[in-house]
């Protein structure tokens, strides 16, 4: 039974990883940028959830406005930071992104204080049990929301004109442009959707921990990079598989290998092994 419990916990963690990582892999697929500051947008989502709930008294309001606000912030990051340096080698936007991420973390600390914030009244503290599996309501919600949103995204990409335009821009931007696709619009949309999904993850993590702090994004900032690389950089399906696989691996690893190496090292050992066997990740193009 413990086995099932650990598996479920791994999938919960993996779902939360997936929500954050998808935005990152979308950005990479389109622009070849390792968008580290994405983790700062995730933190912003979490802060909005807590601060808005505490000041205006409605968690639902916070949960509804967080994704679009963060989505707009993501578009702004693209417009002000990345667009002017798109033709630079990849480490230029990488360092710029790291600089922005540091500024965001420090900004959160200066604005909201170093101690972090909690909900005055933590919403949804109910727990559920399915036979031997006993989980928090928010954990169940995380899995459901991740699957619904990412499923919707998959449908959007596969079945709509917009999705076709997006996929065309990823495969061959010049060709797409010559077919009349507005590449700039696709990019804005890309940042909006990716950042909004990260905000959803931020809201869920804020609920789960009942705690948001300036450095909330520090682990996602690098672990998400591992996930999108495992998934084959820019490959959405691969990213989902990698996120869930890593969640499960960490879940078992924490319990059975935690005395040998820490959680981060487990994740990266897995990454290195996979890349040595498949240098282009799980689903990457060779």
């Amino acid at each position: 039974m413990l086995f099932i419990d650990l598996l479920v916990q791994g999938l919960i963690q993996g779902s939360s990883y997936a929500l954050i990582a998808v935005g990152l892999t979308l950005v990479y697929g389109l622009l070849r940028i390792l968008h580290v500051a994405h983790a700062g947008l995730f933190t912003l989502g979490a802060y909005i959830a807590v601060v808005v709930t505490n000041t205006l008294g409605s968690f639902w309001l916070a949960a509804v406005i967080a994704p679009p606000i963060v989505g707009l912030a993501g578009m702004l990051v693209y417009r002000l930071l990345y667009e002017p340096i798109l033709d630079q080698p990849p480490f230029v936007p990488l360092i710029a992104s790291i600089g922005l991420f540091i500024c965001m973390e420090e900004g959160f600390r200066l604005i909201f204080g170093p101690y972090g914030n909690s909900f005055d009244e933590a919403p949804f503290s109910a727990s559920l049990s399915f036979g031997p599996v006993y989980m928090q309501g928010v954990e169940a919600a995380t899995v459901v929301i991740a699957f619904v949103l990412l499923g919707a995204l998959a449908v959007l990409a596969a079945r709509t004109r917009l999705g076709t335009a997006w996929r065309a821009s990823v495969t061959d931007p010049q060709m797409a442009q010559s077919f009349g696709i507005d590449i700039v619009k696709v990019r804005y949309l890309n940042f909006f959707i990716g950042s909004a999904l990260a905000a959803v993850a931020g809201v869920l993590v804020a609920l789960l921990n009942n705690f948001v702090e300036p450095t909330l994004g520090s682990v996602p900032s690098y672990k998400m990079l591992a996930i999108i690389v495992l998934g084959g950089l820019g490959n959405v399906k691969g990213t989902l598989v990698a996120a869930l696989a890593l969640g499960v691996l960490e879940s078992f690893g924490t319990i059975y290998a935690g005395h040998l190496i820490d959680r981060d090292a487990i994740a990266f050992l897995f990454l290195i092994i996979v890349l040595m066997v498949r240098p282009q990740g799980f689903f990457g193009k060779a």
Partner: protein
């Protein structure tokens, strides 16, 4: 603000304003992590230290001189602590240094102070080698090992737990606590059935909670800081783990209760600040800190406050700026009453004082019990 504190503040600001103009001042150095991951503790430590300086200046400073606190950020990093310490000694000419920082940076700075023969007091860093830097270095808080031993006594003797699971924070603090706990567990009839480790960056403990639930222990000894322990305790309780949870001074902040919410009820910690103390020093500190900071006192603030008070008392007694005389005065400290209890040092410069156990009751830290067992709590003396 009542009239008395108003007067005190007025006096402080009057001295602060005019002080530089005519009175001689004496400088106390202070390094703490004001930026980076440990910024919350740095801020608490700084506020506690500032409070101690304000109070001491209101009492007339040190032998007529105003105290000036020179503060540098070290980001909790050894490579920033070294230049900070050298700057404090060489450029600012501080007569004594206080660490409001973590172990690595404190140990690195301690060596610099020792080499320059300037006294240095660690407020809450727990690395065992800090005081081994030399005879100019002191510590006013418990070493991790000592507190871990107290935890074993609390679990075995006071709570009657037989099977205990350890959830250990993977850093110097958590590891030393676990080592201390394990060293004395058998003496109190406790068997450690399992130990799980987590990183200081972890906030989600799903797998550990699952396993602890399966282990079904009599008690859980979980090391951590309020920002890890808050989510951990919340998640343990939310998933039906009912065993008593024992924590340590790292939990000791109202933020822990804010985060864990109702789940915090009944959590017991070993620490050095007694919220229900009837001692005037402690009561005064808790009240003045809240007035100054706008939130409740925590262990880190009390520890920094204590370290500054020890320094000031020694400097007053020494009656001179000579570092060697100040060092001797610190070493000679006996039963000095401060916010975290009654302070004395052993030959190595380690503090000996009682452990205060606190429990969360009605959403507040309250007195639980005291462990005052000199043999159990004896720090190493060399």
């Amino acid at each position: 603000m009542n009239f008395k504190t108003f007067l005190a503040f007025a006096a402080v600001s009057a001295i602060a304003l005019t002080g530089s103009a005519w009175a001689e001042s004496v400088k106390i150095g202070f390094n703490a992590p004001l930026t980076g991951f440990a910024a919350a503790d740095g801020k608490s430590a700084l506020t506690g230290a500032e409070l101690a300086v304000e109070q001491a200046n209101a009492e007339g400073g040190i032998n007529g001189k105003t105290i000036e606190l020179v503060v540098y950020d070290d980001g909790a990093k050894p490579d920033q602590a070294v230049p900070a310490a050298k700057k404090l000694i060489g450029q600012d000419g501080v007569k004594i240094g206080i660490s409001g920082s973590y172990s690595g940076s404190t140990r690195a700075a301690a060596q610099v102070f020792q080499d320059a023969s300037v006294p240095y007091i660690s407020a809450y860093a727990i690395h065992p080698d800090i005081t081994r830097s030399g005879k100019y270095v002191f510590r006013t808080s418990f070493m991790g090992e000592v507190q871990g031993r107290a935890g074993a006594k609390l679990a075995g003797e006071m709570l009657g737990a037989k099977k205990v699971v350890l959830i250990t924070l993977q850093n110097d603090f958590g590891k030393s606590l676990a080592a201390g706990f394990k060293s004395k567990a058998a003496d109190f009839g406790v068997s450690v059935v399992n130990e799980y480790q987590y990183s200081i960056k972890d906030r989600q403990f799903g797998p550990i909670v699952s396993k602890v639930r399966a282990d079904n222990p009599d008690a859980i000894y979980a090391s951590g800081y309020f920002f890890t322990a808050g989510p951990l305790v919340k998640q343990l309780r939310a998933r039906g783990v009912k065993a008593p949870i024992i924590g340590q001074e790292g939990y000791d902040s109202d933020k822990f209760i804010d985060i864990a919410g109702p789940a915090a009820e009944g959590v017991i910690i070993t620490t050095s600040l007694d919220r229900d103390s009837k001692k005037p020093e402690t009561m005064n500190f808790i009240k003045s800190f809240e007035a100054k900071a706008g939130f409740g006192a925590d262990m880190v603030a009390a520890s920094a406050h204590t370290a500054v008070k020890v320094a000031v008392a020694a400097m007053r007694k020494a009656g001179t700026d000579d570092p060697a005389a100040i060092r001797d005065a610190i070493a000679a400290t006996r039963n000095l009453a401060v916010s975290t209890g009654s302070i004395s040092f052993n030959g190595l410069g380690e503090v000996t004082k009682a452990v205060q156990n606190q429990v969360v009751k009605g959403g507040k830290w309250r007195h639980h019990s005291v462990i005052d067992d000199p043999a159990l709590l004896a720090p190493p003396s060399e």
